[in-house]
Amino acid sequence: MSQVETASRKGQGQSLLRQPNIIYGLIGLVVGYAIGDWIGGQMASRFDFVAAMDYNDISVYLGYILGTIGYIAGLGFLSYPFARVRGVPPSQEPKTDTGWKRYLGLSVDHKVIGLQYLLGIGVFFFIGGLNAMLIRTELLRPSAPLFSPGQYLTIVGLHGSMMVMMVSSIILGPFGHYLVPIMIGTKRMAFPRMESLSFWLTPLSGLVLLTTMQYGGFPTGWTGYPSLANQADLGMDGYIFAFALIGMAMILNAVNMIATILNHRAPGLTWNRLPIFVWSMLTTSVLMLLGPPMLLAGLLMEALDRTASTTFFLAPSGGSPFLFQNLFWFFGHPEVYILALPGFGIVLEILPVFARKPLWAYRLAVAGLVGVTLLSFMVWQHHLFVSGINSDLRPFYMFTTELISVPTGFIFIVGMGTLWRARIRYTVPMLFALAFFFNFLIGGISGVFLSDVPSDVSLHGSYFVMAHFHYTIMGGLIFAFFGGLYYWLPKMAGVTLNETLAKIHFWTMFVFFNSTFLPLFAVGMLGMPRRVSTYAPKLETLNEWVSISAYLLFCSMLVFLANFVWSLFVARNPAEANPWHSRGIEWQLPTPVPLETYEQVPTILAGPYEYGIPNAQPVIQLGGPATIAGD
């Protein structure tokens, strides 16, 4: 107790400059970058090809690497490892309590990290959205370019990269880190410092992505294919480095999440009682652990190709561009399920609360999540159906890709079953959860078309694919994200969001999202390839409609932003402890959640979905394992 008091008193009076935080991190970043840049210049600037290009890839990479080290040091992540090297015994850092300053640096409080993630990722989500507006502006007219096509390609690449890289953690970050320890009855994640590191690498990666514009941008889109990547300007190195950072952050996140869920569950929390959201975090983490290493391998090879004159991907010297495609998509396909599974978890978490019914066929839902996880490693060649892979492989991957729609379908039957004979309350989170099912159905069905090779021959690389993944990722994940945000923000931030603005946000977002992306299926089927700034004149009307819808969709996000900023920083109406009357464990705690969450190890007495069950036990018994009831 007293240790916490001392720590909190320390935290209160500290000036911003006395402890490691983001300001020192940024200074470290700049200093490290300058040193790396200088070393690279010393090493490589006398080579002919470097002089002819006016670019030095080596100094950029060294700059980024040393800059990252400086950034991490400035934030204070190196002090504990160095202390251990000096012989200081291992210790657990106490959480400091108060003030907005704790959000600016290394924090071992998983609740703080959750909120840091929310703001950190949110910023890049909006920047990615801004890029999308620029893309749609260019696509208003088929000729008469507005932007230089090279810059346009960089904006396309930035939009894709920011969205995929940053948004991959949009649920696991804010909600996973904040809620998983609470939901399993523990007061911290397994590795708190590593948890904070995995957060701080994320905005760094976003910053590196933004610097690519300074260096000539990158022309490859978010997939980074060679041989185009070998001949690209310096911005390509920024893309490679940013993606590598995110890959590492993913692996760190995954290790932490899996260790926590496997080892830190409170007594009484059997696998049968685990909230479905925690199941989705566990399965997502398995994907996050096994996919990114392949990505890192591919990116490293690409970096070496660009700096050390290796030829991993250059055909004339014995390499193969196919190799990168396979390495990338071995990660890339699990990546898109990293984006989809948390969405499943959130909507299946929300549905029972507002239907006031148990989650129908709980085990089937878990089987769906696990099945998707396992199968997602066996389907990646469907991105390469017309690339010239061995023709004998195509029937196999077609089969596995179509098979993955079966576990995905489990989520739908579970949703349908949960709503049967329910007592539905149409709150804003529920609206988003229901919209998820509508959108993901369309996205999933379009996926069936793409998985069928004869159909894919015409659809690959067209706007049909674009519409498919926007429906599943944006219509799925982002809608689930907003549902989760409206559901959990009263607990996480202690304030209520304005309900009228929330409903306006939902309806405008739903209508304009569909009006933006539904026509894109038609546009793709009519022959427009992806990542182009010009198109056949007959498609002009459709593209104009889509662009205007996209602007209105962005406006709906601004409505949300206004609501968020107003409610959080201006109106600040305090929320009650359980506004949704939910049985979830997190809702049995007071708002705001106490610093140490659980003073004593709690006991879990029943599952969180026992609505309407006569004589159901309360879900949790706070105050220690006096008796362990049920099993």
Partner: protein, 282 residues
């Protein structure tokens, strides 16, 4: 109202809407379904698309009807929070769902595999038009016309090895003929997409990607690059033509005369060309 009656109602609504939906797909959407019927392969692909749409329609309608029915009828009435029926699951429905979806998936996979593997003597199937790499599943037996598609940044050129390796800027094909496209690239990955012919094959440097088409109608078609290849990727488009056999011969002869000065310097025909750091790929 008990479950059986509600499900019967839902079943009837679903059946009616599904029939309307399927008829709509076949008769309203069918004639306009891409990629059209300008080649035999494209026709096959269109048939596959129609079949997929027909199978997907009842599934989508089922989900919509069940969700819609629940959302309309199972609502909380009044301010008091009420609990719903404590149903944990229903093994009949669960087993039924799993087995039905698995069966549909197996059926689709079987059809798709058939379309990929059956190539016949004229390679007019749906899957034959997608790039199959250097060793396609089987080669048609009717001596296809060989056309090499050379993709470079940022234009396609074409070579006809059976006519002395003549290279041209435009793609002209004879009608009612099986054509074998050998697609390759001189620099980065592009993709040769002949939309109305239903052909798409990635052009990879150092690799030969084979796709087939059996032409059917004497019309023109759109060619686009379908893989991001750099600055002018979106502008890398052209129109190709399918003409009668006589017109094709005349055109080839004209090209051989017109392009004779350039052909003097063009390297001999090969399946793959390797670009040198500077200078000619050969």
């Amino acid at each position: 109202m008990d479950d059986r009656r509600m499900l019967t109602r839902i079943g009837i609504v679903w059946a009616v809407l599904s029939v309307i939906g399927i008829l709509g797909v076949i008769f309203l959407l069918g004639p306009h379904m891409p990629p059209g019927r300008e080649s035999h392969n494209a026709s096959d692909q269109t048939q596959v698309n129609i079949l997929l749409s027909v199978i997907m329609t009842p599934i989508v309608i089922l989900v919509w009807v069940v969700f819609g029915y629940s959302m309309l009828n199972f609502r909380q009435r009044g301010e008091q929070i009420e609990d719903g029926a404590p149903i944990r699951g229903n093994s009949t429905i669960q087993v039924g769902w799993v087995s039905t979806t698995a069966t549909i998936v197996l059926f689709l996979a079987a059809i798709g595999t058939y379309e990929l593997v059956e190539i016949g003597s004229t390679a007019s199937g749906a899957g034959a038009a997608g790039g199959q790499g250097p060793t396609p599943i089987s080669v048609p037996t009717d001596h296809p016309l060989q056309v090499q598609v050379i993709a470079q940044q940022w234009q396609f050129t074409y070579r006809y090895p059976q006519y002395g390796g003549i290279e041209t800027f435009s793609l002209v094909l004879p009608v009612n003929r099986t054509v074998q496209f050998n697609v390759t690239s001189l620099d980065v990955i592009h993709s040769f997409w002949a939309y109305q012919l239903g052909v798409k094959a990635d052009a990879v440097p150092g690799a030969n990607n084979i796709a087939f088409v059996r032409t059917k109608e004497t019309k023109s078609f759109e060619i686009r690059c379908a893989e991001l290849c750099g600055l002018w990727h979106g502008y890398m488009s052209a129109r190709g033509e399918v003409v009668s056999g006589a017109k094709f011969s005349a055109w080839i002869q004209r090209q051989q005369v017109l392009n004779a000065p350039a052909m003097h310097y063009v390297p001999p025909y090969r399946k793959i060309y390797f670009p040198q750091p500077y200078g000619r790929a050969g």
